[in-house]
Structure formats: C-alpha cells, structure tokens
C-alpha cells in the first residue's frame, strides 16, 4: 500500500521509511505540515501516518483541515503525547488510531493494516480463531477441531464478542451490553449462556476471572 508519512524527526522518519520499504509498501515522507495538504489532494494514498509536533504547526490542525475538506483517508497518529486528553482529542478530530511513541513496529504495521481494511469496508478476514475453535463471522459458523458446532444466536454473539477481543477480559456489564441486549439485567442469564457455551465448545476456551468477567485467549 501507499503510505504518506508526516514526521519531522530525521532519525524516526529515516527508520520508518526503511520499515515500510522492507514491508513492501510505498512510502512518501514529508517533514512539514504545509506540504501535506497539496500532496494529499494530488496523489492517492492508502493511509497517513501523522506526527503531532511539527515544526510549522500542529498535526491536529492538519487533521482538522483535512477532515473539514472531506478527506476520508485513514489517519494513524504517532505521538509522544500520551495523556488521555491528547488521545481523545486525536480521535475527536477524526484520527482512526493513535499510537504513542515509542512503539513496537509490528504493532504499528498491524494497526496500519487494520485502519486501511476498515476504510475499505472489506469483509475479508472475518475468521476468528482460538486454539482449535474457528469462528466465521460472515457465515455465522463455528467449528471445533474442524467439526461444526451448533450455537444459539446469543451464544454465537457471546463467543464472537469474546473472540474479537481475545486476550482481554470482558466484564459482565460489557458482555451483557454487547451480546445480550435483551437481557433483563438478571446476571444469572449470562452465566447460563456461558455454561451452555462451554458445554458445546469445550472447557478451557473461555476463562473465568472471578468477580470480573470472562476472557478468551488467542493462543489457548
């Protein structure tokens, strides 16, 4: 893909350029916010990697201007500013993701791919796996070690929610809100669904964190 990188630091810009080239991406590197607008209007990019502290202005202003013009290009902010307010401001102005310096390169690449995919609205790669469990979101099908497993609608929604956010503990409240919208607030219902789900897909996939919630491990 073709990436526009706006970053004023020489060392970081140079290194990132190498990373993108090694990954087989085309990257254009600009060091001034003023040059970016014209470039974006004249060329087609898949994504923008934007630093906030630029010598001729704030990356946030550039982002605001772009969004005001109706440019919907996915933007990933990379910044040393790590406070909650800074991150929220970035998202409010229309950033698709926000990465705090210093960051791990694999994480940068994964997030970059994710925002590009989201912007294309493609339905590919909607397969979620955990151990021998595979969940196909588009076909609403689940297999365990290759064998199909029949789940109720609610059980499927629960498993999907957990697998989409694998390696994260989801609290009961979050799970009820996302997978049990019709829940009458009786938390017993959630336990019943999890119990049934475990019977069907086997123990050990869904981990309980007592008093908090449930979690699916990606590499279980």
């Amino acid at each position: 893909m073709k990436i526009l990188m706006i970053e004023d630091d020489l060392a970081i810009g140079q290194a990132l350029l190498s990373v993108f080239q090694d990954e087989g991406h085309t990257a254009v590197w600009l060091r001034l916010a003023a040059d970016a607008g014209a470039r974006i209007r004249s060329e087609t990019f898949d994504a923008v990697v934007l630093d906030l502290g630029l010598p001729d202005g704030d990356g946030n202003d550039l982002l605001r201007a772009l969004r005001a013009e109706g440019v919907r290009l996915p933007v990933l902010i990379i910044s040393a500013r790590d406070s909650l307010q800074d991150r929220l401001k970035g998202f409010d102005l229309g950033a698709d993701d926000y990465l705090i310096k210093p960051f791990e390169i694999p994480e940068l690449l994964v997030r970059l791919r994710a925002i590009v995919r989201r912007s294309h609205g493609t339905l590919e790669e909607n397969l979620w796996t955990s151990g021998d469990i595979v969940l196909d979101e588009n076909r609403m099908a689940v297999t365990r070690a290759g064998q199909p497993v029949t789940l109720s609608k609610t059980e499927f929604a629960l498993l999907l929610t957990l697998m989409k956010q694998a390696n994260r503990v989801l609290t009961r409240v979050e799970l009820e809100r996302r997978a049990l919208p019709a829940s009458d607030g009786q938390s017993q219902t959630l336990d019943v669904h999890i119990f049934n789900l475990r019977k069907k897909i086997g123990e050990g996939v869904i981990r309980t964190v007592r008093g908090v919630g449930y979690m699916v491990q990606q590499d279980a």
Binding site: L16, R81, G211
Partner: protein, 460 residues
C-alpha cells in the same frame, strides 16, 4: 547555661505583659514619690502649727505664775510630763525641746543633752527641727519650743507598704484582664500559624486575607513566598515532564532502527544475534517503561491550579474495569485473579490518578506472583471509607522495608523482576490525590503482600 539562655526563645506575650507591668510599676513609683513629698511638706506644716500652739499654751501658763521661778519650773515640769505621757500613749518617738528665758536668763531646758543649735534641715542621721519662740514683753519671758519633724516612718517597711498597698492590691485586677486581652489580641496570629501547620506539604494555596491591618503584611509575605514556591515547583514539574517527553523520540528511533536492523540480518546471523537482540529489546522496553512511569508519576501529582473534573464513579465498577484491563497478563501466566466486591456506592474520583494507582498495584501483584499463584482483589466499605485490598502470594516485602518501598527508584533488594522502582510512588500519589492512603501488610495467610488503599473520595 549561656547556650540555654541563647536558645531560649523570647515571647511576644511576655514582652507585652512585661511592658504593661513596667508601666504599672512606673506609675506606682511616680505616685509614691509624689505622696512622699507631699506627706513630708504636710508633716512639717502640721508640726509647725502644733509647735506654735503648744508654745502659746506654755506662755499662757507661765504668765499666771511668773515671775516666781520655782512655780514656773514646776508648771514647766508638769507640762513636760504630760507631753511625755501623751507621746508614750500615742507611741510617738519624736523629740521636743522646750527652753524658757526670764529676763534674758535661761531658766529651763527640757532636753539639755541636745546641742544648742538644732538643725532646720534634715541631714544624714539627724532630723530637721521646727522651732517657735514666743516673747511675753510684760514679764520678759521667752518660751522656745523645738519639735523634731519625724518623717522616717515613710521610709520604713511599714510606711512604704502602706503607701504601696493600694498598687499591690490593684495589681491582680490590672494584670488578669491584661493577660486575657493580650491573649485575645494574639489569637489571630495563632490562627494563621495553625492554618499553616495543618497544611499538607503539597498545599501551596494562598492563606485567606487577614481582617487585621497589622497581620496583612505577614499574610501577604507568606502568600508571596507560597506563590514563588509553587511557581518554582511548577517549573521543576514542567522540566521533568519535558525531559521525559524528549526521551521518547530518541527511544522510538532506537526501537525502530533495532527492528530494521534485526529484520535485515540473515537467518544465520539472526541466531547469533538472538541474545543481544533480546537484550536490546528489553533495554528499550525498560527505558520506555521508566519514561512512562515518570510521566505517570508527574501526572498523579495534584495540580492545585488546575481543577480537574471528579465525576461520581461507581467504585466497584471502576475497580472491576481495572482488574479486567490487567487480568489477561495474569491469565497468561496462569495466575488466578479474582475480584470480590462487598461494597457499592459512588464517589467523586479523579479517574486518571486513581486508575494509575490501582493499575500499578495490580501490575505489581501480577509481576511478583509465582506461577499458578492467586491474587485476591477485595473491595469493602466501612461507613464512608472504602478499602481496596490487593493480596498476592509473591515474596512480599519485609516489614522494615515497607516504608522505603514508596520511595522513588527504590527497589527491594534481592529481586529479579525488572521495574522502574516508581510503581508504588505513583500509586501513593494517585491515591493521595483522591484523599486516600496505601498500607502494605502481609498477604493472606501470612504469605505474600497485601496492598490496601483506603479512601473516602476526593476532597473537593
């Protein structure tokens, strides 16, 4: 002795009381001198009149019996005896001398031991005398009466005591109200002192304006100092934050370049480079972690000038979210983490600092837990005090090291886990910002460590 005197602090209260007592004493002394001088003059004029009257009396008696010398002498002796008796009864000790001349010849002297000329002005050891002389021209009789002016009693203890007694008796009546008034007068000063004494070391807000004109310069000076101090602390804080931020860019450059470098070496080299590569990664990760912890520490510190929102927060739900955010790290290491919420209710919390406090304590518990260990997070409530206890089964911290564990960059000796040494300092600040404290104690069953946060919601 000298040192003790030098170290003794002088007291404003004593100073005022001594000044007041000094004024009273001064007035008393002036009064005493005045009374004394006046009494002396009065005594003299009284003695003079008395002398004159007695002389006239003696003259009258003598004119009846004169010029018979024998009868004159017997009358004079009787008069003298009467006088002596009266003086004895009255307990007078002053001396009197009567002398009588007939036709220019001295015929009677009641006190022949006295010198011929008696002093008219008192000298050391001798009193002044008042003299009067009457002359009967018909019979040519001269009567002279000299009377000692006795004003020594005024210098005696009894005399001075009598004159001073009014002052001495009124002294308590004057000093006790003065004591109270000075005490009341100094009260605003004490209230300023207690206002300053009660403050926490982070509270540099200005003192309230004093309603007293005399105290305003003091309050203004203290407030000026506080303003300069907080400005200076603010600068230090900005410096630290800027320094930490500045470190991020070079760290990012190292990290990215390391990635490029390692991804470019061939598979044969990769094997040989595995160890230094891991070392490089963990070194960068550790530096990055320290930078983030430094920033978190600075962020957890209360900023008196900035009024951050403190939304009403469901405490149990808040803690549950924090446990949920960290639990995957525990699950990955097969550590069982559980949360028991035995309390409900909402409190105004400063979320960012409280979250970083709870996160650091949970992260410590996970980091130091043994494989297959258990972490219990328990929220209880007594009255309006919430207590959040995070108990692990790790190596714990020896009781004598627990206080030091809160110091910045302090690391409990003999541990292998890497860390910035800032976690507990951040947690302590974050909790303090929400008006709470952290207590470290033994873990459940005497094993491991329990970190307990006690808080009652942020102070307004």
């Amino acid at each position: 002795m000298l040192r003790r005197l030098a170290n003794r602090q002088s007291s404003l209260f004593q100073r005022l009381m001594f000044s007041f007592a000094g004024v009273i004493l001064g007035v008393a002394v002036i009064g005493l001198v005045w009374v004394f001088l006046e009494a002396k003059a009065t005594q003299r004029s009284r003695t003079f009149s008395e002398n004159k009257a007695h002389t006239a009396n003696i003259q009258a008696h003598l004119s009846d019996v004169g010029p018979d010398v024998g009868r004159m002498l017997s009358v004079l002796t009787e008069i003298e005896e009467n006088r002596v008796r009266m003086f004895q009864e009255l307990d007078y000790h002053s001396h009197v001398r009567v002398r009588v001349w007939l036709h220019g010849r001295l015929i009677y002297n009641s006190a022949p031991q006295q010198p011929d000329r008696l002093p008219e002005v008192a000298t050391r050891g001798a009193y002044a005398w008042v003299r009067w002389e009457a002359h009967d021209k018909l019979q040519d009789i001269v009567v002279e009466r000299s009377h000692e002016v006795d004003d020594e009693w005024m210098f005696s203890i009894g005399g001075v005591g009598f004159l001073l007694s009014s002052t001495i008796f009124s002294l308590p009546l004057l000093l006790i109200p003065a004591w109270l008034i000075v005490g009341i007068g100094l009260r605003p000063l004490r209230s300023i002192a207690s206002n300053i004494a009660q403050r926490s070391d982070g509270d540099l807000t200005p003192l309230p304006d004093s309603p007293y004109r005399e105290l305003s310069p003091l309050v203004d000076a203290i407030n000026g100092l506080m303003a300069r101090l907080s400005q200076r602390i603010e600068h230090e804080h900005e410096f630290l934050t800027d320094a930490a931020h500045e470190l991020k860019t070079p760290l990012a450059a190292i990290q990215i370049n390391a990635h490029v470098l390692l991804s470019r070496v061939g598979s044969e080299m990769a094997e040989r480079c595995a160890e230094p590569a891991a070392g490089l990664r963990s070194g960068v990760a550790r530096a990055t972690h320290t930078v983030h912890q430094l920033l978190a520490l600075e962020r957890a510190r209360a900023e008196p000038q900035v009024d951050h929102p403190r939304p009403q927060t469901d405490v149990a739900e808040f803690v549950r979210d924090r446990v949920a955010a960290a639990a995957h790290l525990a699950v990955q290491r097969n550590i069982e983490i559980e949360f028991h919420a035995d309390a409900d209710g909402c409190l105004p919390l400063h979320l960012e600092s409280m979250a970083s406090a709870v996160d650091n304590l949970i992260s410590n518990a996970i980091k130091y837990s043994p494989q297959d260990g258990r972490i219990a997070v328990r929220l209880t409530r007594i009255g309006h005090i919430y207590r959040l206890a995070i108990a692990d089964q790790g190596p714990g911290i020896a009781p004598e090291l627990r206080d030091r564990a809160f110091e910045r960059f302090y690391r409990v000796p003999g541990q292998e886990q890497s860390g910035s040494g800032l976690g507990l300092a951040i947690a302590e600040r974050g909790v303090a910002r929400n008006g709470g404290i952290i207590v470290l104690s033994d873990g459940e069953g005497g094993r491991g460590l329990t970190a307990t946060i006690e808080f009652a919601g942020a102070a307004a």
